[in-house]
């Protein structure tokens, strides 16, 4: 049983707010991709990194991963695992964009929430910030930084 702290500090509230925002953004991004699976498959194909035979699988799984991890993080379930997943996804995508930039490919990044964007410095920097944020939140949750942080280590069940 997770111990619930009676006094929630400002740091814990900030931590929770950041997690809700991050989870919400990924949920929304995944949801948009689920609405337009063909467009996302096309975006994955344009990177020319995966064999065509695996593009469908990637296009099928990645949006659901964003939706699942984003939603669970936003509602506060298995937060650290979700942060790990989102961190790995973000780090992987950052690497993909850097390789694409190095290859000189001018393509839609498939990462614009409100409008289409090309692979470039801005999406790369944005991704780097999100990665640092996810890593920071994970560390914070893991080490129980901040006074009276709810649901954080070293409680017996972790999450």
């Amino acid at each position: 049983m997770t111990k619930i702290s009676l006094s929630i500090s400002a740091k814990s509230l900030l931590l929770r707010l950041l997690e809700i925002i991050l989870g919400g953004l990924f949920f929304y991004a995944g949801y948009l991709k689920l609405l337009h699976p063909d467009d996302f498959a096309e975006a994955v194909m344009a990177y020319r990194l995966l064999p065509i035979s695996l593009v469908g699988a990637a296009a099928a799984v990645l949006p659901w991963l964003e939706v699942a991890a984003g939603l669970l993080l936003a509602v506060g379930l298995k937060k650290r695992s979700c942060l790990l997943l989102l961190g790995f996804m973000t780090g992987g995508f950052l690497l993909v964009m850097l390789v694409t930039l190095a290859r000189g490919l001018k393509i839609d990044c498939g990462c614009g929430l409100f409008f289409t964007r090309q692979v470039g410095l801005v999406p790369i920097l944005e991704d780097a910030v999100i990665l640092l944020g996810a890593a920071g939140l994970y560390y914070w949750e893991l080490t129980g930084a901040g006074e009276g942080t709810a649901n954080s280590a070293p409680a017996a069940n972790g999450h």
Binding site: A41, S53, G56, L65, K78, S81, H159
Partner: protein
């Protein structure tokens, strides 16, 4: 203690990944199967054409050969619908840069001096880019009567080895 927690976190992350994979494969099995059997490109092209026929009906389209013929004849004015950075790097000689967002102003400078009956050919980056169709549609709405969208985009033009330059 921390290592045990990290192992637990990784285990749950793996579970969420498997759940996402099951949901993804279940929902998009057709896409996965098409991709695995090599039919994905043809399927996406078909979907794109269907969507464009509905969304941009009324906008004539040109293939690479048709666009190049018009270029050689010197009758058409080419409109580059990509952003300014891409345009500056390389574009079809004589093309005017007009991305979709610049069309908000009816009296936009790039259109100044171009008669409305002049043949215009709009292109963007590559075949899956809709900007050329959007700009062509807007130009028709602004009164230009001979507008067509070159669907192959600058990528097809460049790959064919046709003329290109960086001059404005």
């Amino acid at each position: 203690m921390i290592r045990r927690l990290i192992r637990q976190d990784l285990a749950w992350a793996g579970f969420i990944l498997i759940l996402a994979a099951a949901l993804g494969f279940g929902q998009q099995w057709r896409l996965v199967r098409l991709s695995w059997t090599g039919g994905l490109s043809a399927h996406l092209e078909q979907q794109r054409e269907q969507r464009r026929r509905t969304e941009f009906q009324g906008v004539p389209t040109l293939n690479l050969a048709q666009a190049y013929e018009l270029f050689q004849q010197g009758q058409a004015r080419f409109i580059d619908a990509r952003n300014a950075e891409e345009y500056a790097e390389l574009h079809i000689p004589g093309a005017v840069n007009l991305p979709p967002w610049d069309l908000k102003e009816p009296g936009a400078r790039p259109l100044a001096g171009i008669p409305t009956e002049r043949q215009l050919v709009v292109y963007c980056g590559q075949i899956n880019c809709d900007a050329a169709l959007k700009v062509a549609e807007n130009l028709q709405a602004l009164g230009f009567s001979r507008v067509a969208a070159f669907l192959g985009g600058f990528q097809a033009w460049d790959q064919a080895g046709y003329p290109a330059d960086t001059s404005k």
